[in-house]
């Protein structure tokens, strides 16, 4: 299956900011953070379209989120995931002596999700990674 090496940035979006205020358990929050903004040309390379599922893998693990075609392209090789539980399961905890993990500028690989794979809900994600819910 085609995959692409990219630089991953996580960060704030207005929708994420609104979503968290309407509740971390709300659909609005979930829909605003379990996404990955990808350059349109990179989407084509992966044979993906807007709204399909994409798997992001870093040295710390993998997560499935929904691919979103970036409206501010071009930015080939750079993807963006809003802050949230989905982004943070693939962030390394190393802080290089500063207390701050690297939430930005992370080397990652993106690839289309396999058939049958789905984006986990918040409860499912917590259960899968931390064994509690």
């Amino acid at each position: 299956m085609t995959s692409l090496e990219v630089t991953l940035n996580t960060g704030r979006t207005l929708r994420q900011g609104q979503g968290k205020e309407y509740g971390k358990l709300s659909e609005r929050y979930w829909k605003s953070v379990a996404i990955c903004e990808i350059d349109p040309d990179d989407l084509k390379k992966l044979d993906l379209t807007d709204g399909r599922l994409v798997k992001i893998t870093t040295e710390s693990g993998s997560v499935l989120v929904r691919a979103v075609k970036s409206v501010r392209a071009p930015h080939p090789g750079r993807v963006f995931v809003p802050y949230g539980p989905w982004a943070n399961v693939i962030i390394a905890s190393k802080t290089h002596g500063t207390g701050m993990p690297s939430f930005k500028g992370i080397q990652a690989v993106i690839e289309p999700a396999r058939t049958g794979e789905k984006v986990l809900s918040l409860e499912e994600l917590l259960h899968a990674h931390y064994g509690k819910e």
Binding site: S60, R72, I90, S93
Partner: protein, 489 residues
């Protein structure tokens, strides 16, 4: 219906204090003057709330009384040998103050969310100092605004409107109308493109978005005018970049190099490379001219600098650039603080312990060594044996390895809302929301304290987090006293 005026918004570090909230039967019905995030804060505050305390029994969270939940919390904290107390940025300074007292009493580590936002900035400021001012000064005087690694349009939506380019200052005009005109002409051009057969010709007139190394080497003339100007430096074109007079795209993790290149060019040194961080030297030379020729410049920097490679060194380079620029003109620098009272958490921690975050009280006096005493590192090493989280959601925002250790040990959450952390907690103490249901004090990103108002009354079962913390502290002291009595026979 009642209208509460001049309400301070507990949304982000901009702390807009001009909100008007309409309340009917103790429910917020309308929010005026707020951004999308602030409006959501006031309209969505009652969704996903828990009103009664919970304690985990046989793997399930079960309702309990407040006094039982407080006793259980005090028992966990008093028995722990290396507890962490984390959060504090989404609540009032008054709650933080009690938190520091509690940390001292139980011999724990108290850290706030700046550890994963502007902690590196604090380290740099301690290293090299910084020149700053209030947002009021910037509003009235700044003619050049740089947002570096920061996207206020999304994270601090009214920052530009209230404090920088889109505000009417005493000595500086707003550029809002100029922006609207440029937007109209852009839309007109788009319509033209769609409705005429001249699409190709019109497209040729548009500046083509090319990779950075093929960009034009000249900066737009607007940057050399006396009016207010905005420059955005970022790794991607954000919404803020789209409204700036100039957007400088830097390669990820290359901010440090860019700052140092600008400093070298400012000293009129010649750089033996064609580009730095993906930006041609010609552009940087022009940029230095713009920086030097302003009358009052301000560099707002965001977590784009603190969270990428270099971290505190990026900030140190940024502060040094601003210091160098002050040899030529007036220039200041300010971090764009995210949580509404993260500045307050730093300030309370500093005046109580001497340090702004990551303070370790385990040996009886405050010790500060971020990288060692910071919460993510403690959790990653698996050293803590209990945690108290106040108004924060580290399960959603910490790296996975840190969260694993956080949830393995007893976890207590004091938070108005249900979130990922409270779902995994062992004790949940729902509280009233500071700035909506209870009063308090918060510090704006420029370290100006502002009062938080009570807009609606809290549920009778929800005390303020300050009061809950006081009761926990009293209970901890009671337990310790009992132990002393037993130990002394």
């Amino acid at each position: 219906m009642t209208i509460v005026s001049n309400v301070t918004c507990p949304g982000c570090g901009s702390l807009c204090d001009d909100l008007e909230i309409e309340v009917e039967n103790n429910v917020v019905t309308k929010v005026k003057n707020a951004c999308g995030m602030g409006e959501a804060r006031f309209l969505g505050y009652s969704a996903h709330r828990r009103r009664k305390p919970l304690v985990r029994k046989n793997g399930e969270l079960a309702q309990t009384s407040l006094s039982d939940a407080i006793k259980e919390t005090a028992r966990i904290l008093a028995n722990a040998s290396y507890p962490i107390l984390y959060g504090w940025s989404n609540t009032s300074c008054e709650a933080s103050r009690v938190g520091v007292e509690l940390a001292e009493e139980i011999g724990g580590v108290i850290d706030n969310t700046s550890t994963v936002c502007h902690g590196p900035s604090a380290l740099s400021i301690q290293d090299v100092g910084f020149s700053t001012c209030t947002l009021g000064q910037i509003r009235h005087r700044a003619d050049l605004v740089l947002y570096w690694g920061s996207n206020p349009w999304s994270a601090h939506p009214r920052h530009i409107e209230r404090y920088t380019n889109f505000t009417e200052g005493r000595f500086r005009r707003s550029t809002w109308n100029k922006y609207l005109s440029s937007l109209s002409s852009y839309r007109a051009e788009r319509r033209l493109q769609r409705t005429t057969k001249l699409a190709e010709e019109a497209h040729a007139r548009q500046p083509e978005k090319k990779p950075i190394d093929e960009r034009t080497h000249r900066l737009p003339p607007a940057l050399f005018e006396k009016d207010r100007k905005m420059i955005v430096v970022d790794v991607r074109e954000t919404r803020t970049a789209a409204i700036a007079d100039y957007f400088l795209q830097v390669e990820p993790n290359k901010d440090y190099e860019l700052f140092q290149a600008l400093r070298a060019l400012l000293r009129e040194e010649e750089l033996q490379v064609e580009s730095v961080g993906g930006v041609p030297i010609d552009v940087l030379e022009d940029l230095v001219d713009v920086l030097v020729s302003c009358e009052f410049g301000v560099l707002f920097f965001g977590v784009g600098l603190t969270m990428s490679a270099g971290k505190l060194r990026n900030i140190e380079a940024g502060i040094s650039l601003v210091r160098d620029l002050n040899q030529y003109t007036k220039f200041i620098i300010m971090p764009m603080r995210g949580h509404y009272n993260v500045t307050g958490a730093n300030i309370v921690s500093t005046w109580q312990t001497g340090y702004p975050f990551a303070v370790d009280m385990t040996i009886g006096y405050p010790r500060y060594n971020p990288g060692e005493t910071s919460v993510v590192d403690i959790l990653s090493r698996g050293e803590s044996d209990a945690a108290l989280i106040v108004s924060s959601d580290p399960v959603a925002h910490f790296p996975k390895d840190a969260v694993r250790n956080l949830v393995q040990n007893p976890l207590i959450v004091i938070d108005p809302e249900t979130n990922a952390t409270s779902l995994l907690a062992d004790v949940v103490l729902p509280c009233a929301i500071a700035g909506i249901e209870v009063e308090g004090t918060a510090y704006r990103m420029d370290r100006v304290p502002l009062p938080l108002k009570q807009v609606v009354k809290p549920s009778r079962t929800c005390l303020s987090d300050e009061e809950i913390l006081r009761r926990i502290l009293r209970e901890v002291r009671r337990i310790k006293k009992r132990r002393e009595v037993v130990a002394n026979g």
